[in-house]
């Protein structure tokens, strides 16, 4: 067609490798090293294997909530401080449904739908009006939502511990000498499955592409016909769904109370920073790594008792911010103008 364009293409092809923006080699090496270490550990020690699986289950919950934070961060450029409380509130909704006699898995999916609607409504009513003002205004609104949701839930259901039907039971499986709790495996499966489904939505569907475009470049997205406001609202809805998964998967080990998601949110925050706040894959990797790390530390390091779990998580967060502010998988912005 055109000589010039073809030449340009040929020249650029040889340069392609130099402008790739994939994961850096040291990070890949680190992740591979961690994986090998865990695998070797699991085959040499049964306790190590047990703690690793339990840690992965914990980490999957961090990952779900961290991913919710990342989704909103990418679209709105704020950390949604109410994400944990929203997750807690939707878990109470599930509790209420179960009280009314709805079967667990029906409740599970109903809760996800309700969470989606709740997320969309919150974005429309509270976030959209202040979104164009300033980042700090949105942050303050999310802090306000934190207090509002916390208050409403305590007012409606009380602050005492509540118990819900356990979705996976208390069965323990034995593989050789290693004992896996059915609950851990179930939590891991459900969390990972929801993350994978979300990834498929974003990566392979037109809707997901439009949502990414709306979050990254709202002005350009609206020029190609994307309903940007709706996409952003749906982003909040999906984040709320992930939060609901995290809440529902947390409940069996923690019991239900209004403060139950507060530490989880902090772990999720650390996980998101570890992975790179911009990176969904990073949130998942960061969550899983943090969960396993904290569990193994508790097992093998005497002084790292449960009281130190949160401070240690924050130590990780601080370290990441000092050493590698973009996180493990956070992309450097490469752009030529």
């Amino acid at each position: 067609m055109s000589e010039l364009a073809r030449k340009l293409g040929a020249v650029r092809q040889t340069r392609r490798s130099t402008v790739s923006t994939g994961v850096s080699l040291p990070v890949l090496a680190l992740l591979a090293g961690v994986a090998v270490f865990l695998l070797v550990g699991c085959f040499t020690s049964t306790i190590f294997a047990q703690q690793t699986v339990a840690g992965l289950a914990q980490g999957a919950i961090f990952a779900s909530l961290a991913l919710a934070l990342v989704l909103i961060y990418r679209a709105t450029e704020v950390i949604n401080f109410a994400q944990g409380e929203l997750a807690m509130a939707t878990t109470y909704v599930a509790y209420q449904l179960l009280q009314w006699g709805v079967p667990y898995w029906v409740t599970f999916f109903l809760t996800l739908v309700i969470a989606f609607v709740l997320g969309v409504v919150i974005q429309l009513v509270f976030i959209r009006p202040v979104q164009h003002r300033s980042v700090i205004a949105v942050v303050i609104v999310t802090v306000g939502l934190f207090i509002l949701i916390d208050g409403l839930v305590t007012w409606k259901w009380g602050a005492d511990l509540k118990f819900m039907e356990a979705p996976f039971g208390n069965t323990v499986y034995h593989v050789g000498q290693v004992a896996f709790s059915r609950n851990d495996l179930g939590v891991l499966l459900v969390s990972i499955l929801s993350v994978v489904l979300l990834w498929v939505l974003f990566q392979f569907t037109k809707l997901g592409l439009a949502m990414r475009a709306a979050a990254l470049r709202p002005a350009a997205a609206s020029l190609v016909g994307v309903r940007v406001n709706w996409m952003l609202a749906m982003g909040w809805g999906l984040a709320a769904v992930l939060g609901a998964v995290a809440g529902l998967m947390t409940e069996p080990t923690q019991f239900l109370q209004p403060t139950m998601m507060q530490p989880i949110l902090l772990y999720a925050f650390a996980a998101a920073v570890l992975g790179g706040l911009e990176s969904p894959a990073g949130a998942v990797v960061g969550g899983l790594m943090l969960g396993v790390f904290l569990n193994l530390l508790g097992q093998y390091v005497g002084f790292a008792t449960s009281e130190l779990r949160l401070p240690i998580a924050f130590g990780v967060l601080l370290l990441v911010l000092l050493v590698k502010p973009n996180g493990l998988l956070g992309r450097r912005q490469v752009r030529r103008v």
């Binding site: 067609m1 055109s2 010039l4 364009a5 073809r6 340009l8 293409g9 650029r12 092809q13 392609r16 402008v19 923006t21 037109k206 592409l209 439009a210 990414r212 475009a213 990254l216 470049r217 002005a219 350009a220 997205a221 609206s222 020029l223 190609v224 016909g225 994307v226 309903r227 940007v228 912005q333 490469v334 752009r335 030529r336 103008v337």
Partner: protein, 235 residues
């Protein structure tokens, strides 16, 4: 020839600054129309008024119907593709995803269009997985055209396609625009500082001065016009 786009006394402002003081212009179906003018004359604002990316007053009709005051997304759905200042590249997404976004408002298969698009931009196919932000300026401009092509618009709004590009690339870009106009029957409203090349491309041109139409007419006439030659063509 029927008028595809009509602007009547269109005004727009940015806060206290009035950018358009009543612009009227007509784009006939199948034409290429250029809007010329110095910096700050209101060229970009004119395009932004059409695509509703700036609040405006006055009447805009597209294919006989009044264009509402909805968002830019509504205008895009009418069949108007706007390649804005900065080219509207989704820099973080791949070339391929940029093209898919171009076809966002359309239903059904886009395979045929992809094949036809490749005829105009042969390099795009093999670089489909490259991150769009790593393309050169000229390539990003071509990608913007390809993205607009995928939208299958009746009208293309093109904002300063020559900006920041080497002269050879500018010629190349304008040749493709001409090609799209002749082969696909695409109507184009192009805003340009480079009056010389714009007048060669367009059949009709409007010259804006501080938010008003100062001159308009067939390109050939404007090219011969004394003040245009002195102010914009420089000879």
């Amino acid at each position: 020839m029927a008028a595809l786009l009509e602007l009547e006394d269109v005004r727009a402002r940015y806060g206290p600054v009035q950018a358009l003081h009543g612009v009227s212009l007509t784009v006939d179906e199948g034409q290429i129309v250029a809007v010329l003018g110095a910096n700050g004359a209101g060229k970009t604002t004119t395009l932004r008024a059409i695509s509703n990316t700036v609040r405006r007053e006055g009447a805009i009709r597209f294919a006989g119907n009044s264009v509402g005051r909805g968002g830019p997304d509504d205008v895009a759905r009418l069949g108007i593709a706007h390649v804005p200042e900065g080219r509207g590249t989704f820099a973080e997404l791949s070339v391929w995803e940029n093209l898919r976004l171009g076809a966002y408002t359309r239903r059904g298969a886009t395979k045929d269009d992809l094949a036809r698009m490749s005829a105009y931009f042969p390099w795009i196919e093999e670089r489909r997985n490259q991150q769009a932000g790593t393309l050169s300026g000229g390539e990003q401009q071509m990608l913007a055209l390809a993205r607009a092509f995928m939208q299958r618009p009746r009208l293309l709004l093109l904002d300063e396609p020559s900006l920041g590009l080497a002269p050879r690339l500018v010629t190349e870009i304008f040749r493709i625009v001409k090609d799209l106009n002749e082969t696909e029957g695409l109507t184009v409203l192009v805003v340009e500082q480079n009056a010389h090349i714009a007048l060669q491309l367009a059949q009709t041109a409007y010259v804006l001065e501080v938010g008003r139409v100062a001159l308009s007419g067939p390109s050939a006439e404007l090219q011969a016009h004394e003040s245009i030659r002195r102010s914009y063509l420089g000879y």
